[in-house]
């Protein structure tokens, strides 16, 4: 069975010569992203503390960087890049749709419960 790998990342901007080389390339990318996360987490720079859409900008940066890491782990380590479109969509969109739905509902509800407490209607009920 032939195993063909797509050897380019960043939409063809970076092309590797072999699969092994691509693996090391992705490792470097993931390490850089993790290092940025850790440095930001320790320094907590002033500019990143502004609230954006109900959360600190820093937290949004963390979440986006996490999704970037997840993308490269799935696409290159788990070889999602080489699977057919059908399989890829089946796995990715099912997961993303259900997870977003769940997160929306639970965070909305959590925020509501917080408001009920802080507005003082109920002190401790549940």
């Amino acid at each position: 069975m032939a195993h063909e790998h797509k050897l380019e990342i960043f939409r063809g901007l970076l092309k590797f010569k072999s699969n092994t080389q691509k693996i090391w390339g992705v490792l470097i990318l993931l390490s850089i992203v993790t290092a940025i996360e850790v440095v930001l987490g320790i320094l907590k720079p002033e500019w990143s503390m502004v609230p954006v859409l109900g959360m600190k900008l820093l937290n949004w940066i963390f979440i986006i960087l996490t999704i970037v890491k997840a993308y490269y782990i799935t696409w290159d380590f788990m070889h999602m890049r080489d699977e057919t479109k059908g399989l890829r969509r089946m796995v990715v969109w099912t997961g993303i749709f259900l997870i977003l739905y769940l997160i929306f509902i639970l965070l909305q509800e959590g925020g509501y419960v917080f408001d009920v407490y802080s507005d003082g209607y109920i002190k401790r009920d549940f």
Binding site: M1, H3, N19, T20, I23, W24, L27, L30, S31, T34, E37, V38, G41, I42, M49, N59, F62, I63, L65, T66, K69, A70, I73, T74, D76, F77, M78, H79, E83, T84, G86, L87, M90, V91, T94, G95, L98, I99, L102, I103, L106, L107, E109, G110, G111, V113, F114, Y117, S118, R124
Partner: protein
């Protein structure tokens, strides 16, 4: 081609509509369902956090330890190390899969071995992390309502007043005679037992607080600057005397010296569930490793089994990336 032949081709078996073997596709479907389980946990964590958004523990202040560096304030360095170990073992796994494609038994063996070592280092680190969290650090006072009051004082550091935590054991003045001993089956009612008593009583802590004039109390409430609120000296003594109920050291499923017990519950549950995945991943990897050694896949002519456990192993890494973000960073 007649319809009968076409039908035979489509429905007669041996067909791979998604160009993936049955086993690989089922591994993907398992991963989707497992991903939903984990996101259920993380979303529940988010729910509880949003519910107590103004009093949730700050992770940087909870996970500050590094092995062999006692007393050094090192927030996040150790988890960063753990993350790197797991990513590294993911890399050796994908290298093993790649070597499998080239039917290179020696290389598959080596990379599988390195993957297992990486997994073991990670599980060990997690055990250490749990141990540190359970043992606790400074201790705190729990109030009647279940809130946490911590101690600390302002010290001069580089010309600035910085709030430094003070441990309960450093301020408490032990009473000369203990009036309360732990109830045991052998010296009391044989059918009831009692958990371990706190190391200090409230009276000992109150005496200690009165004797140490510079010690202040810090509450769970996060102020506008994103820091926990520090009370005035008067208010500190008042709070401890009026509301303090018991001394708490470390964390378990009922109490947590760092703040909301829910934080500890979710920490144990989610990292525990993830650690269980890593552990089972290591066991599966070991089984496959021995199969590689015995030449099972060499004889089968395909190392696809390595690819399948590889998918699972990468998934474990993927989950950790999210756990790392939502427990330690955000």
């Amino acid at each position: 081609m007649s319809t009968a032949v076409a039908e035979g081709k489509t429905w007669g078996g041996g067909n791979q509509p998604l160009q993936a073997s049955y086993g690989k596709m089922m591994m993907w479907f398992f991963i989707v369902s497992d991903a939903l389980t984990f996101s259920g946990f993380l979303a529940a964590y988010g729910f509880s956090r949003f519910k107590f958004i103004d009093s949730w523990p700050i992770a940087d202040e909870v996970f500050t330890h590094f092995p062999f560096l006692h007393g050094v304030d090192a927030p996040m360095y150790y988890v960063a190390f753990m993350t790197f170990v797991l990513i590294m073992s993911s890399v050796t796994m994908v290298l093993a899969v790649d070597a499998g494609h080239h039917m290179n038994k020696a290389k598959v063996t080596l990379y599988m071995f390195l993957t297992i070592i990486g997994g073991l280092i990670f599980v060990g680190s997690q055990a250490w992390e749990w141990n540190t969290f359970i043992k606790g650090d400074y201790g705190a006072i729990q109030t009647e309502g279940g809130n946490i009051l911590q101690f600390g004082k302002y010290v001069e550091q580089d010309g600035e007043q910085v709030f430094k935590r003070v441990a309960v054991r450093d301020i408490a003045i032990p009473a000369t005679s203990k009036e309360r001993v732990q109830h045991e089956r052998k010296n009391g009612l044989w059918y009831v037992s009692e958990g371990t008593l706190p190391s200090y009583t409230m009276d000992e802590v109150i005496h200690g607080l009165q004797a140490n004039k510079d010690v202040l109390v810090r509450t769970q409430i996060i102020n506008e600057a994103g820091e926990k609120t520090v009370l005035s000296r008067e208010e500190s003594i008042n709070q401890i005397m009026k509301n303090g109920k018991t001394v708490v050291e470390g964390a378990n499923l009922h109490v947590n010296e760092y703040g909301s017990p829910l934080f500890a519950d979710f920490f144990f549950f989610i990292t525990g569930f993830h650690g269980f995945h890593v552990f089972s991943g290591v066991v599966i990897n070991i089984i496959i490793f021995f199969n590689v050694l015995l030449g099972t896949y060499e004889r089968r002519g395909s190392y696809e089994m390595v690819e399948k456990v590889g998918l699972y192993w990468h998934f474990v890494d993927l989950v950790w990336v999210f756990v790392f973000t939502f427990f330690y960073l955000v």
